[in-house]
């Protein structure tokens, strides 16, 4: 495989590394990062290319010949926005959201049953990049699916419409939505509780390239790449997949979202426990668009107010001090906390994001008495045996101590009264070298090398 240059253009930082990919003997040759150049993303990209390839500072991007393959991921432009439509909330709406999140999308809206005209207006106003239309098992529901296809057909939406619903209706959907940019793929839920999200994921990736790569200088970057650029969350997803193994989490907490990736079986079939609802996949990503350190700080402060109040009291920080920090963080996303009190506020905000993102990712269990004895009813994913949590993204990667994450986790476990199936005793691994997205970028082409580097740099224990 040899030497490659991997670049991740994030919303705040553009990070790059020269990697030597040689299976288990892979290594990081050199690393650098610069602030993302928002107006023209290719400027920051060119700066890193020149620095890492030792090219004169005045060489223009179009004259650079890297000499080694270049791979790029990007979460700039706020990522890929997806509106998910299904029929039943617990079934195809959940599956549509799962498919969108695991493809690296940000779910901006989701709808169940038949779209009302008000919902269509809302959808038009939201301008999603993709509308993921699911619903009906194969040969199943027709009425809602066709009604929604008609509603989309007569809307002014310019988004790509990705149909991953009842396969028996594919031809009808094709003729109804002939005037739109339509992609038809396999049903994401062909049978009740049967997940088939890979085809929809692959289709979303293709759309990402067409829609997102255009503009803000990314097309100039694309010309130098050995493979098509991919959304950063997809790159991270592929890294988690490459590392594989069992029972771990990766949390990527940024300014706008907190993303949780898990790699473990959802249900372990313990004696006396029954699973209700969908059996979630081994590798799963959830994206929390209302939990973030900067752009989403105000929403996170509102959602986390209970936890935040408790922590402020413990740390003896006045509430108005916290409120003004949140305001500042939301208004200037590039701000780094510096003073002692600001640092404490930022830390508490981070803990609140972690508390809720973990709680939402984890499943629950309830004890029920039946005439046959006690039964435990599980919903969602069982994370109790998760052995380690990799912490990545801005604040978490910089955080020198595992204490905040462990504190948030312990509080979530305690507050749920044992109902939430959160990790019981995990070890924390910090991505202090900001390497996760850069490695994720090459995980699909060289899984063994990417996984070996991740294990070494994050210090993932053997057999993990």
């Amino acid at each position: 495989m040899g030497r490659v240059l991997s670049v991740d253009i994030g919303s705040t930082w553009t990070k790059a590394a020269v990697l030597e990919l040689a299976g288990d003997a892979s290594s990081v040759i050199e690393q650098a990062e610069v602030p993302t150049t928002q107006e023209d993303l290719s400027c920051g990209f060119a700066m890193l290319l020149r620095r890492l390839l030792h090219i004169p500072e005045d060489a223009p991007l179009e004259r650079i010949r890297p000499g080694i393959p270049v791979y790029v991921s990007s979460s700039a432009k706020g990522g890929l926005s997806i509106a998910a439509i299904g029929v039943v909330p617990e079934l195809t709406v959940s599956v549509a959201r799962l498919a969108a999140a695991s493809a690296g999308g940000r779910i901006t809206a989701h709808y169940a049953y038949g779209l009302s005209s008000a919902q269509v207006l809302e959808l038009e106003a939201a301008h999603p990049d993709i509308v993921l239309l699911c619903g009906g098992t194969d040969g199943g529901n027709e009425s809602y699916v066709l009604r929604n296809a008609r509603a989309l057909a007569s809307s002014s939406l310019e988004a790509v419409i990705l149909y991953a619903g009842n396969a028996a209706l594919a031809d009808q959907v094709r003729s109804l939505l002939g005037g739109k940019r339509l992609v038809v793929t396999e049903n994401a839920m062909p049978g009740v509780g049967v997940l088939n999200i890979e085809p929809a994921r692959a289709a979303i990736r293709t759309v990402f390239l067409e829609r997102i790569v255009g503009g803000r200088g990314l097309e100039k970057v694309r010309g130098l790449c050995a493979a098509e650029p991919k959304p950063t969350p997809l790159a991270v997803y592929e890294l988690v997949q490459a590392v594989g193994g069992g029972d771990w989490l990766l949390i990527d907490m940024g300014g706008a979202t907190t993303d949780v990736y898990s790699h473990c079986p959802a249900f372990r079939g313990e004696e006396g426990t029954v699973l209700r609802g969908l059996e979630e996949p081994v590798l799963m990503r959830t994206v929390e668009g209302d939990l973030g350190m900067r752009v989403s700080a105000e929403a996170a402060a509102e959602i986390g107010r209970g936890y935040i109040r408790r922590r402020l009291a413990e740390e003896n920080v006045p509430a108005d001090c916290f409120a003004s920090w949140v305001k500042r963080a939301a208004a200037t996303p590039t701000v780094l906390s510096c003073s002692g009190e600001e640092g404490v506020c930022d830390g508490i905000l981070a803990e609140a994001c972690l508390y809720h993102a973990l709680m939402r990712h984890a499943g629950t269990v309830e004890e029920t008495w039946t005439p046959g004895g006690k039964v435990r009813v599980q919903r969602g994913k069982d994370l109790r045996l998760v052995r380690w949590i990799a912490a990545s993204g801005g604040w978490l990667a910089r955080c020198a101590s595992p204490a905040p994450l462990l504190r948030a986790l312990a509080a979530a476990r305690g507050d749920s009264g044992g109902r939430s199936l959160l990790p019981a005793a995990p070890s924390i691994l910090a991505d202090s070298r900001h390497i996760v997205p850069v490695l994720g970028n090459v995980a699909a082409i060289h899984p063994q090398g990417a996984a070996a580097l991740a294990e070494r740099i994050l210090e993932i224990p053997d057999g993990g």
Binding site: V87, G139, G140, T370
Partner: protein, 150 residues
């Protein structure tokens, strides 16, 4: 015409799974597309699955004697959620104690179940009735659509 979908499951906190497996195998052999939800199924889970699969019937089993409480309001919930016409059957040990057969059937019919089956009933007969009830429902709907269109 593909096989009609029927949703099957054991309602409430009932964990009896053997009869459920037998019914799944039996109705599949009789040409139905059986969507089996297994044991401990709530009313809404039956209805969710019926909506997604476009099912023609819901077959509710109850073996542990609490069927009456578990099934109460089932038809109303179906209507609320847009399944006005779905064929609804209940079967099993539906009530505790020595309640006369007629009383049990009457109670479940009053709850909106189209047919009620007790352990002594013949499965072959149930399958025949199910096919005919589903067919009748389809004819009714087809006729309704024809009127609506004219």
């Amino acid at each position: 015409m593909s096989a009609p979908a029927v949703v099957l499951g054991v309602i409430g906190a009932d964990c009896h799974s053997v009869g459920n497996k037998i019914l799944e195998a039996f109705f599949t052999e009789k040409g139905f597309h059986v969507v089996n939800l297994g044991v401990m199924v709530s009313q809404d889970e039956f209805i969710d699955a019926a909506i997604e699969t476009g099912a023609s019937a819901i077959l509710v089993s109850s073996l542990y004697g609490h069927g009456e409480i578990d099934c109460d309001g089932f038809r109303g919930r179906c209507v609320e959620r847009g399944l006005e016409d779905i064929v609804l059957y209940a079967g099993g040990n539906l009530v505790v104690g020595k309640t006369p057969r007629e009383t049990v059937i009457e109670r479940f019919r009053a709850m909106g179940f189209d047919r009620v089956f007790l352990p002594s009933d013949d499965l072959e007969e149930a399958a025949r009735l199910l096919a005919s009830d589903i067919g009748a429902g389809e004819r009714r709907r087809a006729a309704g659509e024809a009127w609506g269109a004219s």
